[in-house]
Assembly symmetry: C2
Homo-oligomer: 195 residues x 2
Amino acid sequence: MGMKESTKDKIIKTGAEIIHLKGFNGTGIQEIIKAAGIPKGSFYNFFTSKEEFGLQVIDHFKAHFNLLSKSILEDNSLPPLERIKKVLDLFMDFFMEKDYAYGCPIGNLAQEMGDLSSVFREKLKSAIDSMVESYERVLKEAKASGEISELLDEREAAYFIVAGWHGALIRMKLEKTLEPLKNHKKFVFKYILRP
Amino acid sequence: MGMKESTKDKIIKTGAEIIHLKGFNGTGIQEIIKAAGIPKGSFYNFFTSKEEFGLQVIDHFKAHFNLLSKSILEDNSLPPLERIKKVLDLFMDFFMEKDYAYGCPIGNLAQEMGDLSSVFREKLKSAIDSMVESYERVLKEAKASGEISELLDEREAAYFIVAGWHGALIRMKLEKTLEPLKNHKKFVFKYILRP
């Protein structure tokens, strides 16, 4: 990896962390440059605009979600529903460590930018669809093994679960406890994901 | 109502609409002043800071939600669950008219500001709790009349429903259809709010 590539990665990683907490409009380019410890002006060597940068940050978040969840959701040594529980527990551990801040960066940006930019909207839609599809695949396995009802539509259920999770994260930010996420998990497994 | 009172109301109403679409950090005071058609500088005759203004905008949103939902949720001529369906339908009509933009202003601000300001956090928590309590009261009636299971915890169910709605609104902003809200309603009534 060349010097330029690694500086670009550093800007994306640093910017992603600040945007995760403060949102896209709440984060300034100067703030990112300062936090990344790179020379003023070098931002525009790598990105033509803040928008182009933001789109690459979304790709970064999407890849990060896949990296964290894929090995669990595709672990055939575990029953399908156990994998979903394990992913939710993994994210709960993350948020506990982060003092119940941040939330899901894709959900955050969808909420913030969904009405404001059509290029953000398309990119974020594809990121959420990709999340939903990774759950949907597991739910298909769960149906095949009889863990969930034959009558449950896997795709609709996956969308419902992701939406409920995003909503629970909103309340987590206010409550500053895991309780909203635990309530989500409890309802999903008690009422939706069952034979 | 005196002249000063009505100018203040105009600033809050105008600011609330812009913040509803663009978020708190995405909205500038100059933009509000311009849209409200009031003289530059008069903003600070009414509000000591943008934050103080934001807190009053949250009160405005909370009062508006109560105004819209209260008469339906407390309408004893309808069975309890019909009232909840009617409120969801009312908001679906609103979002259809608004081209699937805006979302819930309380949910939006909770997501945006929950990690950034403790005074916003407390005010938003009380607004969401008030929403949840209005559903909880209806669910208690639904339990008494046998429309939902004795085993369902009304408070937990109300939190789950509000969270799922907020998450569905996030996806509505990306999809630009009612489908995410319809999916929410379908799952809530098929799997949670039933005998």
